[in-house]
């Protein structure tokens, strides 16, 4: 049993690419060396190294015996010789075996299992060079190996032995490197035993991400604003993280909190500090990539940078107030929305129109929606947003308020980019929701019109997120707003939105895929209605009658398709035979009238109660009656059953056991 340790030493890898790269390395390694067994595969990383440790590998892959069946002896000597030639041995060395048709030649080929060391040497260069990165580079010259950043050293130890190979001119060895500044300048020899717990920490490298995380958390303090994403970024930006605390002039607190925290988080990667009353304290925590700040130089440096940034923000705020949002409308002509789609002025005009019509349908305050839609993009021309682009909308909302616009308008503008992800909340007010939906729908409509639908992983305009946001708002706010009529003039968008609804119902609300398909195959109404219908199916599904009934519906559908029956079809009551046929007809009518205006769960319960009648019908009645009129009438009965009860969901989509 052997241990194998690999450390790929690179120049600083972007933090967000590290975890996926490690996972890719792990999968590639596992696939390539599956034959060698192993009890555990551990991966770790810092910005400068991707590390993999495989435990308890077999030192040799098992031998593999393949059996090739040859001709029957009765086929003659020529055939036997041909087979032997193919196998590369003499005829008399071939084995023989008996099967039902007689005795035949067989060849047992034994492939010796490759020794682990040889396999590692052979396959690792390709595995390393094959690690997928979203953006890679070459550095050894045109056509050279591609990696995320230049590879500078490779540590490859099988127990205490170096596995020799080369990637991009770098030869593997038994050395690692310490921290860029705190470690020595020369390579450091290591063994598997002393690598991560002795040598690296002694040279100011904490290779375990979990340990770096704990080290940062321990230095944050209870008053620090929790921020998991920032924490993860910092874990992968550092090899030896040490948090330090700094402060800023409290007079900056006159600036809106949103702006201060954005500067700290997005521009400086600082944690903000919160006072007991929930407001921002004039402090921050920076995470350094070093061991200490003995002279306070690092703190002073960071404070100085933050001061300059805050001064900028204060300056932008003052300058921006000299021109009100409404006075910036004409300037939107100079802000490109998309090269082929014109300016934000054009977009604003469309959004105002769409938002106003949505307001009328939902009872939102028309004036608030109109003003908010009109002003919502005006902050794009402010210095503040040019500098802090992630604050689009938020700045508009803050400025609208500062400039005396109605609170409702300010809130709607402030919220109109929401939700920015599946975890983000939706706009707080109906008016904000309407403006947000109108803005996103407009982007979707216009992009799809010029054929810019997302493909694969490419979605430069974040159209999936926009569509998902619309669905989320409509669902969470329970807006009974029919979505599909708003996009029927852009056909491919319908399918795209449907996919997003499907995703939402399945991944967010947790309905089974066939329940979702059943609902989406029925009329596409509003999002809350679709969700209610899915909920009803999910609820009724475990009951005894439902799935069998669903199976019958599938049967009915098939019968109708085979008969080429298409609606509308009239049922003639006088042609119905007494017994199961007439009973089904009557039961159908009873259920239909009983479910009017009932909640979906009740409706489905009533529909499911039709099951015995349907079963009996199929049991006793031959649809394919020799008399064409009767046959036609029975088809009409089935047709009515199918269509009348398929408005909640198309039950034939339900997968029955």
């Amino acid at each position: 049993m052997a241990y194998f340790l690999l450390e790929i030493g690179a120049e600083e890898i972007p933090d967000w690419m590290i975890e996926p790269a490690l996972e890719d390395l792990r999968i590639r390694f596992q696939a390539a060396f599956a034959a060698f067994g192993g009890s555990a595969l551990i991966t770790e990383a810092t910005p400068r190294r991707l590390v993999l440790l495989a435990k308890d590998l077999n030192e040799k892959a098992p031998d593999v015996e393949s059996v090739f069946q040859g001709p029957y002896i009765s086929a003659g000597a020529k055939a036997a010789e041909g087979f032997a030639r193919k196998c590369g041995i003499e005829v008399d060395r071939l084995a023989k075996m008996q099967d039902a048709k007689g005795e035949r030649y067989v060849f047992h080929q034994l492939t010796k299992g490759q020794p682990l060391a040889a396999a590692l040497s052979e396959k690792l260069p390709e595995i390393i060079a094959g690690i997928h990165f979203p953006k890679s580079m070459y550095w050894t010259g045109k056509g050279g190996v591609r990696f995320i950043r230049p590879i500078r050293w490779i540590l490859a130890l099988l127990d205490d032995q170096v596995i020799p190979f080369e990637v991009a001119g770098v030869k593997s060895g038994n050395t690692t490197r310490g921290h860029r500044i705190l470690g020595p300048k020369h390579p450091i020899p290591v063994t598997i035993e002393n690598y991560d717990e002795q040598v690296l920490p002694a040279n100011f490298v904490i290779v375990h991400a979990g340990e770096r995380k704990r080290r940062i958390e321990a230095g944050l303090g209870p008053d620090v604003h929790k921020d998991a994403d920032l924490l993860r970024t910092l874990v992968y930006l550092t090899e030896f993280p040490t948090p330090i605390r700094g402060s800023f002039d409290p007079s900056f607190l006159e600036l809106p909190q949103e702006i201060l925290s954005t500067v700290m988080r997005h521009h400086q990667r600082y944690f903000s500090v919160i006072k007991e009353d929930g407001s921002l304290a004039p402090e921050f925590v920076a995470v350094t990539n070093t061991n200490a700040d003995p002279d306070g130089l690092i703190r002073q440096g960071n404070e100085r940078v933050l001061r300059a940034r805050f001064n900028d923000a204060r300056f932008f705020w003052k300058v921006d107030q000299q021109k009100k949002l409404s006075a910036r409308l004409p300037d939107l002509e100079k802000v490109t929305f998309q090269a082929k789609l014109g300016s934000y002025k054009d977009k604003t005009e469309r959004v105002v129109k769409l938002a106003s019509s949505l307001a009328a349908q939902t009872g939102a305050d028309a004036n608030t929606v109109e003003v908010a839609a009109l002003l919502c993009k005006c902050d794009l021309t402010t210095d503040m947003v040019k500098e802090f682009t992630d604050l689009q909308g938020v700045v508009g909302g803050l400025y609208a308020k500062a400039q005396g616009e109605d609170d409702a308008v300010a809130t709607a503008i402030y919220d109109h980019y929401k939700p920015v992800g599946m975890d983000d909340s939706i706009p707080r007010t109906l008016e904000g929701q309407i403006v947000s939906i109108a803005d996103k729908l407009d982007t979707l409509r216009e992009c799809f019109k010029i054929g810019m639908a997302p493909t694969g992983s490419k979605d430069p305009f974040a159209l999936r997120r926009a569509a998902q946001g619309v669905v989320k708002i409509l669902f969470e706010a329970r807006l009974e707003l029919p979505l599909f009529p708003l996009i029927e003039d852009v056909p491919p968008l319908g399918a795209f939105i449907k996919e997003r609804i499907q995703f939402y119902l399945r991944e967010v609300l947790g309905f089974a895929y066939d329940e979702v398909n059943a609902v989406l195959a029925a009329p596409l109404t509003t999002i809350p209605d679709l969700a209610d219908r899915a909920d009803a199916i999910h609820y009724i599904r475990p009951t005894a009658d439902f799935e069998p009934l669903a199976a019958s519906f599938k049967r009915i559908k098939n019968i109708l398709v085979q008969a080429g029956a298409e609606g509308p079809m009239m049922i003639r009551a006088d042609l119905l035979t007494a017994g199961p046929e007439r009973e089904l007809y009557e039961a159908t009518g009873r259920v239909l009238s009983s479910i009017q205006h009932r909640p979906y769960r009740d409706q489905l319960a009533s529909i499911a109660s039709l099951r015995p009648g349907v079963d009996l019908f199929f049991d006793k009645i031959l649809v394919n009656d020799p008399d064409p009129a009767i046959r036609q009438n029975r088809l009409a009965l089935l047709y009515s059953l199918l269509t009348e009860f398929s408005t909640i969901a198309d039950f034939s989509e339900i997968v029955t056991s």
Binding site: E11, E12, P14, D15, P47, K135, M137, Y138, W139, T140, G141, K142, R149, P150, R152, R180, I181, L182, K185, L237, T238, Q268, Y270, A286, T288, N289, T290, D293, P294, D295, L297, I298, Q300, G301, N302, R304, V305, L306, R307, A308, N311, D312, F315, E333, K334, V335, T336, A339, G342, S343
Partner: protein, 297 residues
């Protein structure tokens, strides 16, 4: 404490000691040291090259009338090109910081992803912004493409923002308070042109004249590129003057942009026009270099 010019001297000395030619700034308006031919053209082709120079870089839209302590219409970059990139490039770079008096053991250095792209030059690269105690002091880029061509040898481009670094070293809050030379502040040397060029660029530049100039320079590049195409005598052909006209176009575009004279629909088109010129000249330069090598062989 080192003055602004002391720091420049030290950086130049440092890179000269590592085999760099110390060039002087290019004598045309450029938006960045990358645009100077010492970078843009020299990174093309298979010939190794090492050079360092200070490049005053003009970005009309960044002007703030001399009122913002950190933003300048014209700032000074110290540009280093190492082609091909030596293996210890980062160690060499960190050594340069030590050379200007930064004790790295007392500071925090981080390399944060920052990839560089210039649509007007058809150029891009991969790299970092180097953060010193939270301050971006250097842009570090491995060039991948220039003038639309994959590069034969990958150069490292190290661009120091001199004002920022020196303001940090001198511990002043405003670039205008930097001591440029003993007894002379940055403001005494440069404030007047920040003020005047902001006024000109934002308020007074004559838009029709700038457009005319743009078109004249563009036509000249086009004319030269067409002549280059048909000429047999490639080696003496004035490709370098053609590139000067590209730089003029690029600067005029920036001026027009700052002046608010470029509409949405025009903007993308103008960038494409400048890129076409830059790519054309880069291609001609590469071809010319190849023909020289063939002639020498």
């Amino acid at each position: 404490m080192d003055t602004f010019q002391d720091t420049i001297f030290k950086l130049k000395r440092y890179w000269a000691d590592r085999g760099c030619i110390i060039q002087e700034p290019y004598d045309l308006e450029v938006g960045a040291g990358t645009m100077a031919p010492e970078t843009f053209l020299r990174v093309l082709g298979a010939k190794p090259y090492k050079v360092a120079y200070v490049q005053p870089s003009r970005r009309p839209a960044d002007g703030r009338y001399g009122e913002n302590p950190n933003r300048l219409y014209k700032h000074q970059q110290l540009q280093v090109i190492l082609k091909p990139t030596p293996e210890d490039v980062i160690e060499q770079y960190l050594g340069s910081l030590e050379a200007i008096g930064i004790d790295l053991r007392k500071h925090d250095i981080k390399f944060e992803e920052d990839n560089w792209e210039s649509p007007t030059l058809g150029a891009w690269g991969i790299g970092w912004q180097v953060m010193l105690d939270g301050l971006e002091i250097t842009q570090f880029t491995y060039f991948q493409q220039c003038g639309g061509m994959d590069l034969d040898l990958v150069p490292a481009e190290i661009t120091y923002g001199l004002e920022r670094i020196v303001a940090f070293l001198q511990n002043v809050e405003s670039v205008y308070d930097i001591e440029w030379a003993p007894g002379f502040k940055y403001s005494e040397v440069r404030l007047a042109d920040e003020q005047q060029f902001s006024v000109y660029n934002f308020e007074m530049a004559d838009v029709p004249m700038l457009w005319q100039e743009f078109e004249l320079h563009e036509r000249e590049v086009q004319r030269l590129l067409e002549l280059f195409r048909v000429t047999k005598e490639k080696q003496r052909f004035p490709v370098l003057p053609a590139y000067d006209h590209v730089l003029n176009c690029s600067h005029l575009f920036n001026l027009l942009d700052a002046r608010g004279a470029i509409s949405v629909t025009e903007r993308v088109g103008i960038i494409a026009r400048v890129r076409k010129l830059a790519v054309g000249v880069a291609g001609a330069w590469a071809e010319q270099q190849n023909s020289k090598e063939e002639a020498a062989a």
